[in-house]
Amino acid sequence: MPYLGSEEVVKELRRALSNPNVQADRLRYKNYITKVIRYMTQGLDVSALFMDMVKASATVDIVQKKLVYLYMCTYASDKPDLALLAVNTLRKDCADPNPMVRGLALRNMCNFRMPGMTEYIEQPIVAGLRDKASYVRRVAVLGCAKMHSLQPNTEIGRDINELEWCGLLVDLCDVFISCLDSHSDGTHSLQMKDLDSWAQSEVLTFLLRYRPRSDDELFDILSLLDAFLLSSHAHVAVATLRLFLHLASAHPTVQADALLRTSAPLLATCGAASRELRFAGLCHVQQVMRSQPGLFGTHYKRFFCGYSEPSYIKFRKMEILVELVNDENVALVLEELRSYCTDVSPELAQAAIAAIGRIARTYSEKCLDILTGLLGLKQDHITSAVIQTFRDLVWFCPQSTAAVCQTVGACVDSPQDSEGKQALLWLLGEHGDQISSAPYVMEGYIDGLKTELSSAVKMELLTAAVKMFLCRPAETQDMLGRLLHYCIEEESDVCVRDRALLYYRLLQRGVEETRKVVTGPKSDPSMSVLTGRQEEPISDTDVTLSSPDDAEEEISLSLGPPLSHETFEKMWLDLETLHRQTLGFPRPRAAPDTLQAALQLVKIQTLAFTPGDTVPWKAYIYTRSTETLILAELLQGDQQAPGSDESLVVSVKQQPVNQHAIRGFVSVLKSVLQTLNVDTL
């Protein structure tokens, strides 16, 4: 970083450092060296002083030595020729009687980043590996790693035998290799208790690379590490969890159990004194909840926002609260969220309102009461957020439309920001038939069009006015005419003008044509199938920073929100049969509730089935997989269906189509039914 007047400073420092008077006075000399380092930290280029600093390294004062070495490491790559001069001093220090000096010199020499460095450091490293002080040996082992990263194809320590290596690695206090070695003998000696927590988490990360050869070995490792799930250091607990999830990827029950056991340390980090730790804890809780939604339901009070917490924690906590709502805690959670709606920060208030809106998709009545109450506050940002929430709510759950329309109709003041305006206009256009005052509100907007700045609002207004015209032509015709006239003749924004022209020409084609084009579905209940809570299997990569690059696509089923009989029937009739298969064995003779429980275990929900031994025997089941809903019918003994006399026939319907998921589903279903058949025989 160039720094004004840097040359002056460097010149002055050089004068001081080469002044014999200063050099004689050790305290003053050291002060100048400290000054150099300070400038270096600030980003000033002081590499010109390299020669003077090398001279200063010849001292008995260890602190001064350390400072000079720090300087040399930073600038060695800029001044490779001068750095070579320093290497000699460093090599001399490597033979110093004081082990601390030896270690220091060796470490810093390995930190030099110059191409030809390896030939100089190899010999000191090998000597260091055989040093009698453990400190130096440790530095030397890390030196090997540094050398390897400088020149990946070097071989170090050819002449050091295996036993010595083992000792060295134990020295390193990370028992990586030794613990893996012992695996090959079949005896596990993970002596992790004696390590400090950093080494523990390092070893745990390292173990991620290990592939156990058998399930027995796997469970041996897991039971050895079990105690670390409850470690008082959050990072050890999480590293253990990560290892568990990774190793037990084929055993979902083990994974679930590990998640359950780690929930206590995770909750504790959510209340930790350090905010950053709290945030990380909350993010992890959110991840865990995707696979185990019920895990934190009873601890909902832990996620209430503290008054002094920074907003990033509050946002996270609200997201978690929305996800863990259930029948028991909904009242208290809503009351808590309600109290955030009047927060000083408008962003927080809006997020709280949106959170209530999310809960309203399941518990609409209570939430609508709260949201309606909030409109009474007559605060611009709150009104706007509530209207936006209403729009989303109506889209996702149409049963609340009537209540929302009544509220919107009674709402006197209108939102001022463009987001809120768009939401209100959408509601007016889409449900104009249910809001009696809709044309008058819209007229207000059309009259104020000249002062409106946002083109998005204008576009929304055009669409809403056309939609309104289709359902209430008498009241709207006049103002629609004015609106189109203004937008075509006077509007300068091209997008708005084009939209107006489009509607104008559409209307010329006739009302029915327009209706076909403009009106779409008023709500999309199938969206809620997608956005509803789904159980996702957690993978160990989730618990880390970045997302996995090559995630294997594996079929996983989940229950998700229950489907009502009516919805099922409607979907069953609407959809096409995608897959029909004769399973090749009769229906299991198990009791109805056994069958239901068994299917539930693999996340398949039973909706209905014929009781007893009635012929034909039918059962309707459904399940969810990644983003798709699978419906299926099991049939036996029907005369019309071919091949159903002796064995079960399964027909599958799906929305949206995903052949991969169907194959997975059928194989899961087959294995469960087969197991049941074996059991009951």
Partner: protein, 433 residues
């Protein structure tokens, strides 16, 4: 693996910069830009930045691999704690003055991106620089010297700043050990005075200045019970839900006698953490009886009566009460019961702040605020929302956890002073109206 470590001042100046593995130059400028967005984790070209804010400074680590964020955050916290131990206090000034010491620390703590050690026992062998204390010399340090060697009252009370000095200073070598029981209280009280939520997070923290310390025994209340079901004794048991210990703590006598055995190393460490959820063993320390009325056309009357339910001998310090007021409040007049209290309107935060420096237990204080709000409507009264309080209760633990005794065994040669301190902080104390 950590690639770089920085310490930045709040303005973004580099105080400390250490490059652990070969990385591509400084990316701090980029990081500073992101800081204002207040995001905890950022990444840029595969380099992740993780930062922690402590003592008004940003402690930043960057990494190229994919480690658990917990490891890095805890390491940065530990680094900050060690810096505090070695420099005495944590501020931009003390970091600037002791930068050589911090480089020395970092050099030993992290090598080639691997965390080597953070224990003071090991580090003290390698640290040679002496800390420069950022505090000027004060006569207070001499106040412990008794007149004619007489034992004065003052020597029995540790000054509150005693614990904030460098652990390695050669001056004033005093064999002191501090054991602090610190609890953080978070409470939500509903509109009718019902306790909605109560959590206590507590910890026992040791700050040790003894150069060598053998085993120390800390005796807790014998009737302490852990978990929901387990109850000991007949009378008021002290109960916590869950507790976790530092891995160095020996617990062989904990189950029967509630004794923790630990060999403290120099500096600060947390020996035990515990928590209690959903119920308080005593009444919540403060009860509020508010009334909010519309007075004249444009004026809101807020009458607050605050009662402190602590035992009469104890006091609460630095009590501050924040009451949200309607938007657009312009001015306020107040009637407070004593002159040491202050109140002010903060239009920017839409709140009024009432501060009480000392609040004795069992007392009741009241205050009347008249807030002028132009264009007041009845809906505006709803904006007078939940009241939040912050305070400090010295010599007080809400769980009732006490330290019975503190024994160093075998007895140290020379005098060693042991201090036990209790304090309860309000983490978040909210009362709904």
């Amino acid at each position: 693996m950590i690639s770089q470590i920085f310490i930045l001042s709040s303005k973004g100046d580099h105080l400390i910069y250490k490059d652990c593995i070969l990385t591509t130059g400084l990316l701090v400028a980029l990081f500073c830009l992101c800081l204002y967005l207040l995001i905890l984790l950022q990444s840029h070209k595969g380099l992740h930045f993780i930062h922690v804010r402590q003592g008004g400074l940003y402690w930043v680590a960057s990494t190229k691999t994919n480690p658990s964020p917990f490891t890095i955050i805890e390491f940065l916290n530990r680094l900050a704690a060690l810096t505090k131990d070695y420099c005495g206090s944590l501020s931009e000034k003390s970091v600037r003055m002791n930068f050589a010491l911090i480089y020395e620390l970092l050099d030993e703590m992290v090598d080639f991106g691997y965390i080597q050690t953070t224990s003071t026992d090991i580090l003290k062998n390698f640290i040679q620089t002496e800390a420069v204390s950022s505090k000027p010399f004060s006569l207070f340090d001499l106040s412990n010297v008794g007149l004619f060697g007489a034992e004065t009252q003052q020597s029995k009370v540790a000054p509150s700043v005693a614990a904030s000095r460098p652990i390695m200073s050669s001056r004033g070598e005093q064999n002191e050990i501090f054991v602090d029981v610190i609890e953080r209280l978070s409470v939500v009280i509903g509109s009718k005075g019902v306790l909605m939520k109560a959590d206590i997070q507590g910890e026992i923290r040791i700050k040790c200045f003894l150069p060598t310390c053998s085993e120390m025994r800390i005796g807790l209340n014998e009737e302490l019970s852990i978990g929901k079901s387990q109850l000991k004794g007949y009378s008021s048991a002290v109960r916590v839900d869950e507790c976790r210990f530092h891995q160095a703590v020996k617990l062989d006598e904990f189950d029967t006698f509630r004794i923790l055995k630990v060999c403290p190393s120099q500096g600060e460490q947390t020996v035990m953490q515990y928590q209690l959820c959903d119920e308080l063993p005593c009444a919540p320390p403060f009860q509020l009886f508010p009334s909010v009325e519309k007075d004249y056309v444009n004026r809101v009357l807020i009458f607050l009566k605050l009662r402190c339910d602590l035992p009469p001998k104890s006091t609460a310090l630095n009590v501050s009460i924040t009451v949200p007021v309607p938007k657009g409040s312009t001015s306020m007049s107040q009637e407070l019961s004593s002159p040491d209290q202050t109140a002010e309107l903060q239009p920017k935060n839409k709140a009024l702040l009432w501060e009480i420096p000392r609040f004795p237990g069992g007392a009741q204080l009241s205050a009347l605020f008249k807030v002028d709000v132009p264009g007041l409507s009845s809906a505006s009264l709803l904006e007078v929302g939940p009241v939040s309080m912050s305070f400090e209760l010295p010599k007080q633990t809400c769980t009732g956890l006490q330290i019975r005794f503190l024994r160093l065994s075998p007895t140290q040669t020379g005098l060693s002073q042991r201090w036990v301190r209790y304090v309860t902080h309000s983490d978040s104390y909210t009362i709904r109206i």
